[in-house]
Amino acid sequence: MTTATHPPRHQLPSAARTARRRSAALGLLAWAAGISFCLPALWMLLTSFHSEADAATNPPSLAASLTLDGYREFFGGGGGPTPWPPLINSLSASLFSTVLVLVLSLPAAYALSIRRVRKWTDVMFFFLSTKMLPVVAGLLPVYLFAKNTGMLDNIWLLVILYTSMNLPIAVWMMQSFLSDVPVSIIEAAQVDGARLPTVLARVVAPVAGPGIAATALICFIFSWNELLFARVLTGVVAQTAPVYLTGFVTSQGLFLAQLCAASVVVSLPVLAAGYAAQDKLVQGLSLGAVK
């Protein structure tokens, strides 16, 4: 399929023209697919800038004037509740757990790639197998434990659970990124008398740095998106943004423009992060197996 742009010389010019025309048609088809896939999201964005009256018309009015009312209402402009506490809860739970994941997974990945423990592949598979354990299977004991220790409705509980949820992925990703650091360079630095902190800062970090950043981003996205734990284990105080969103409709009745504005706001950090790290995102989600 890649040859369309380089037709072999022995082909007739008319064949080359057909190939070029076919290639242009397939390009248009790709554009059509891209736009139709994105259409629901674009629709959400457009609706978020409509007034409630314009948002609830059938057939839809594309020419309706744009307004920030949906966003203003969502942020409490009408005297309603503000989304700041849940947004801040989501932000802190995601950030703290990302830091904890890095603190735990970096040394582990070091032991699995640079100075390898024996049977390191078995250890890798243990990490992966915990990811295959569905969260519902441990939810009830965690709930009972939290209830009995007074840890319900507390973001630190979410931090711990999100860390366990993301740790296996992080270990796998980090392992694959740290394996990219040539061992010979590390040994050369050690022979020159460099201590471990120096080796890490001067040799490992520059090579593996971008990968480590991507890992952190993915852990952040997963924590930010999580609903089940947050729904069961938090209430009023530690409520996260996804939980707030699900409760949004029932408590206020359906205001479509406002709901769309809310969804846009909550998705914005993930969209920004995801666009920035498209390739690493796949690699992380496929646990480093696809490079």
């Binding site: 399929m1 890649t2 070091y110 009830l140 860390t163 998106n225």
Partner: protein
């Protein structure tokens, strides 16, 4: 970082003691992560196993009693629970198959140079980057809503072009509940499959493709005999990772239908059994059943990943 200063490999110290110490120094960085994971994921599962053997409703705490495997018997005989097993299988299989096929078509479209390819790719991955709850709310209220959702809006707009006054305005969610959930999930997961398969397509050895082309192979022949075999690992990886993630889906089922109208999958049922019905024993047994199902899928997944991984290990 908790890494201890490593022993320098070129200054051998005497005896087995230093050897053992060195082994521990190598192992030590691994321990915090291992201990943490065992404590937070494995221990609760053991507790779930134990609770699943009890007849325990939290509204009736005095009645708690050991009941052996009777909760498991209930899971498999209770029609509602049995239906949710079926729903889970159906939901997972159809979403995975549809999103892999669509993802393959899109990956093939994007695996060629055309104007604005990067932009199209960005457009395509957007569904995957929306927060799952936002995506589910979007489908439920902005698209499926029978009165002013986009789908019915488009229907009445199209009907207006043909001068039809009262076009069909289906109530999508109540008329085809499972399909409604599946469509939203396929929309979200197709970009993931597309990205994995695109990575596969772009790792095809160019010389081989060129050689086949010079030998006179047609597009279909090249796809059938070169591309598809090369993509096999990536297809398997996509299918299995997709299965593991989608088997556990909670957000879409919870948001779009609240498990009603025959769309309750096992994760939702477990959630409901313990959170609303307070049947702790029964919920735990259902949770264990989910785990057994996932382990069956995951065994295949691990085998695939490990074959990818072995190549990686031999290369290193």
């Amino acid at each position: 970082m908790a890494t201890p200063t490593g022993p320098t490999p070129y200054t051998p110290r005497d005896g087995a003691r230093s050897g053992r110490m060195r082994a521990w120094a190598t192992r030590a960085p691994l321990l915090p992560a291992l201990v943490f994971l065992v404590a937070v994921t494995q221990l609760p599962f053991v507790a779930t196993l134990v609770i699943s053997l009890f007849d325990w409703n939290s509204l009736d705490p005095e009645e708690r009693a050991f009941s052996g495997l009777s909760n498991y018997a209930s899971v498999f005989t209770d029609p509602a629970l049995r239906e949710s097993v079926l729903t889970t299988v159906l939901l997972t299989a159809s979403v995975v198959v549809a999103s892999v096929v669509l993802g393959l078509v899109l990956a093939l479209l994007l695996d060629r140079a055309f104007l604005g390819r990067g932009m199209v790719r960005t457009l395509l991955i957007t569904p995957f980057l929306l927060v799952p709850v936002s995506a589910a709310l979007l489908w439920k209220h902005a698209l499926y809503n029978p009165e002013y959702g986009l789908f019915n809006g488009a229907l009445s707009w199209a009907a207006g072009l043909f001068g039809i006054d009262s076009p069909a305005q289906p109530d999508w969610i109540s008329e085809m509940p499972l399909l409604a959930v599946e469509a939203a999930l396929v929309w979200q997961w197709t970009p993931f499959m597309m990205l994995i398969l695109l990575a596969g397509l772009q790792s095809r050895p160019a010389e081989m493709m060129e050689a086949a082309r010079l030998d006179g192979a047609g597009n279909w022949q090249m796809f059938r005999h070169l591309t598809l075999p090369h993509l096999r690992r990536y297809l398997e990886l996509g299918i299995l990772l997709g299965s593991v993630y989608i088997v556990q889906n909670f957000d879409a089922v919870f948001t779009i239908t609240s498990g009603g109208l025959g769309t309750a999958n096992l994760p939702y049922t477990v959630y409901q059994t313990f959170y609303q019905a307070h049947e702790y024993g029964l919920a735990s047994a259902a949770g264990v059943v989910v785990v057994i199902g996932t382990i069956m899928v995951a065994t295949f997944a691990l085998r695939v990943v490990s074959s990818l991984f072995r190549e990686e290990a031999t290369r290193a």
